[in-house]
């Protein structure tokens, strides 16, 4: 579905990605783990078109997406929920969700998706008319995921959904991710919380200083001693 081949990227003179390759198949949850500064967020930025890679190929559903503008990529069904939530703080919850559906032209489908988001996150329905900036961190993260869902993604990119959240809420978010996946959305998940991420992921990649150093199924990586030492706190 998504294929990243030998992609490099840099900020000014600093090379952040040094030729990484990864792929995501339809129906999978794939996770990308690694330390801060390893280049995870940059990888996602390149995929969703916010940052242009210096070299390498990026194809989604067989189309080359490197030259595409971010809003074209979204229209293809490749939607990202960014790191640190980035909800629109002075817009209401409902308006935030509406922004998620910005590219869509099917009002009926949008309506059912509202229902879907609200049933997954009942708290959002309660806060519908509240400005998003006044929500708690966990609620904002739910809103960010919900907002991305409104775009009817075929592939959902999630950047650190557990960032700064209490464990119970993290568990809830991961549950939702699995539900979404079962309902047919493919997920590429970038996480610091390697254990949780690997547990729900079909496959995973480990990123270190801009290169992919390991890959395998979630179970394999969880069992790998190097991963355990570096990312699982053992």
């Amino acid at each position: 579905m998504l294929n990243v081949a030998n992609m490099s990227a840099s900020y000014g003179a600093i090379d952040v990605l040094k030729g990484i390759s990864l792929r995501v198949e339809e129906g999978e949850i794939v996770t990308l783990i690694g330390a801060n500064g390893a280049g995870k967020t940059t990888t996602l930025m390149c995929i969703s078109g916010l940052h242009k890679p210096r070299s390498g190929q990026l194809t989604f559903l067989g189309q080359d997406i490197v030259p595409m503008a971010p809003h074209h990529i979204v229209r293809l069904g490749l939607v990202q929920s960014p790191e640190g939530r980035k909800v629109f703080p002075r817009m209401t919850v409902a308006e935030n969700l509406e922004m998620g559906a910005y590219t869509r032209r099917d009002p009926d489908g949008v309506k059912t998706d509202y229902e879907r988001v609200y049933s997954l996150f009942p708290v959002l329905q309660e806060r519908k008319t509240q400005p998003a900036g006044t929500l708690s961190g966990g609620e904002q993260q739910m809103l960010a995921v919900g907002r991305a869902m409104m775009a009817k993604p075929r592939l959902l990119l999630l950047d650190e959904p557990s960032l700064g959240l209490a464990p119970l809420i993290v568990a809830r978010i991961f549950e939702v991710i699995q539900t979404l996946n079962q309902q047919g959305t493919t997920v590429l998940l970038v996480e610091q919380n390697a254990r949780m991420a690997l547990r729900i992921a079909h496959r995973g990649y480990v990123l270190e200083t801009g290169t992919v150093t390991m890959e395998g199924t979630g179970v394999e990586l969880l069992a790998d001693s190097r991963v355990q030492a570096a990312y699982l706190g053992e």
Binding site: G12, I14, A35, N36, G37, G164, L165, Q192
Partner: protein
Amino acid sequence: MTAPLLEVRKLTLKFGGLTAVSEVDLTVQEGEVAAVIGPNGAGKTSLFNAITGIYEPTSGEVLLGGEDVREPMTRRHLVQQALAGLLLGTMALLATANIDTMWLAVVKNRAEPGFSAGAMAQEAVRYLQALPRIEPRVGRFFVVSGDGKTTLGTAKTRQEALVLRDALPPQPAAATARWLRLLALVVGTAVGVAAARAVWKRTRRTPTSLARRGVARTFQNIRLFHNMTVLENVLVAMDRHLGHTQPWTHPSRRLDTLLPLGLLGMLLALVATLRLGDPAGALPAILLGAFLLGGIAYLVHIGRRGAFSQATLALEAAASDKALELLTFVGLAQNANDLSRNLPYGYQRRLEIARALATQPRLLLLDEPAAGMNPSETVALMHLIRQIRDRGVTVLLIEHHMRVVMGISDRITVLVHGKRIAEGTAEEIRNNPSVIEAYLGTDGEH
């Protein structure tokens, strides 16, 4: 027992409706390596920003060596605020009193008999009290009421006008004008003081003041001066310790370019004067020519050589030595003259540490120093942090890399969701059930 080096009491940081840090306590003793850990977004960097004066805490205190880090109100601040008030008050007074006609009554009036500062001051005070005044206009002297609205008489000379003015009965109409001026003075002063206080309040705790109290830091997303060399980066941080010298006092040694050019100027001037057939003018022309050319040559000379005084040069040399020593300490001496933007990632992190050390801190805050480092670099970093501690600098770090944290920290604080959930030694933290649940992971793979 002496006060701890850093003490954070019930610190809370709110942005809009979101609480980033909530009632966090943190103590760091002199000479230890302390760590703050917790999941991403738990408020660790916000805590650092509050400690280093970048964010103003919503509530709570930060104490350094037992003292509040906010600058106390000193006499200097009081004087500044008083001055600002006085200035704005005077400006308001002059505006309402109409400085333009005041000038007419004070300066222009005085111009004719000759300049006497005392008389002008007297006239100015009279004017401000809204007493009748004399205004010279179109060749005559007008006696005008204090509020400037009515002409009370005219005279041909100032002396006559003076007599006329002093013979006038008291002018009750001017009372309103007087009150208005007083009001302007008072309101202006009040606003001035309030404004100065507002500025002071906002600048009681700044990154600068904290750095000067001995708190240095590095940044999570490296913030070097990218277009400066490695050495310059360190020198900037040493600026405060360089002492005070005038940068442009000249050693006045080399007169080599000065002399010939001065002579050339003289010669040219001489030729010119002689050609004009006016030998009497030769001397001043020569002098001026010499002065001009010699002076310019002197300036060009010091400009080209960078004529700093011996003292300054010595200071700079000493500073460079010191900076090089620091660079050697972190292992970057061979890169001293590279642009910092061209350094590899791990080197940039170390340069940031060297730069922070150059401010001669008591407390060094490291924000994820191991981020983006490979395992061997990480080991070197741990070694470096221990060495820094051995130099007598207390270290407080944020780190995700558990091996680093557990390996070097004397004390660890765990922050989750903006709250402190645990504090203790590495061993205690490793076995603390709530930490395991919230951060390290619950299940039994180990």
